[in-house]
Amino acid sequence: MKTDFGFFIAADPELCTGCKACELACFSAHSGSAPGKTVGSLSGFVTPNLHVVRTAGGWSLATCRHCEDAPCLNVCQPKAITRRGHEVVVDPALCTGCSDCIPACPFGAISIVPRRDFASQDSCGMAARKCDLCQDSADGPACVRACPNGALRLVDPECERRQKGVQAVETLIALSKL
């Protein structure tokens, strides 16, 4: 049975206030080899891998869902986008910056950014970048840590399903006692 379902970051609409601390933390964590820690040290565009968006149901995150049947992966001609374990990954070395993946993603989760922002400083050209679950960091996703309200979580679909099932049962029991 398949077990390596895509992990992804989700926001609890009850807790998220749309403050954007997560966006700044994400961008700061992915700013390449010479990041500054201050706002004043930024001189270019701010391109985080996630955005807070207002929906009918409250604040939500526009970010990569590491889809099981990812449209970006399916459309990528140089095969720069692949599945690896619980993740959909973009290999910047193979990416040509053609931008086919951008409209393919229904969440707008992919940005095209200067290669030097995340590859080496002297790289040139543009490449696709999206949420990578902060795989390179021992501390885990920067956005989850930065949220002042604990609204963000890393979702493991199997755990999510299990937890919701238990919670639903408890709710149903409570309802049936009324």
Binding site: F5, R65, E68, P106, P157, K164, L172
Partner: protein, 157 residues
Amino acid sequence: MTVGTIIKLNPERCVACYACVVACLDAHCAVDEDGPMLRRAIRVETDQGEIHCASLGCMHCEDPKCMAVCPTKAIYRDRETQLVQVDPGKCIGCHSCLVACPFGAPAFTKGNKMVKCDGCIQRVKEGRLPLCVQTCPSKALTFELPRTGGEESGPNP
């Protein structure tokens, strides 16, 4: 009291015997596959030592959150039966439905698509009961099509 629509559950009658789970897997999974379970029997023990059971498939909600959030409109409601279905041709496996569903009904397959309890829609269109309802020995699960009214349950064991 019962909860849910179409396939309804009376939690007080459920003993988590897994008959519904097995029947469902039997019908929906190939022999060499071991899941995912589209219907789950969940047992919860409270701090006071009370044991509660429930059989959870898809609730086929009147206002399905999964349908509202699906970015490709892969989730739809069958007009005839009102059962909520997913079109694998459109599904991209983005998990949005799982996040939105309060019950955790959506699951994902090695085919990279979302699957969930479909209410045994084929059987229902042929005038038969969903297998879980048919099989449930304690009549915790009953069946009521929105148009017809009147509850039905499986035959006595």
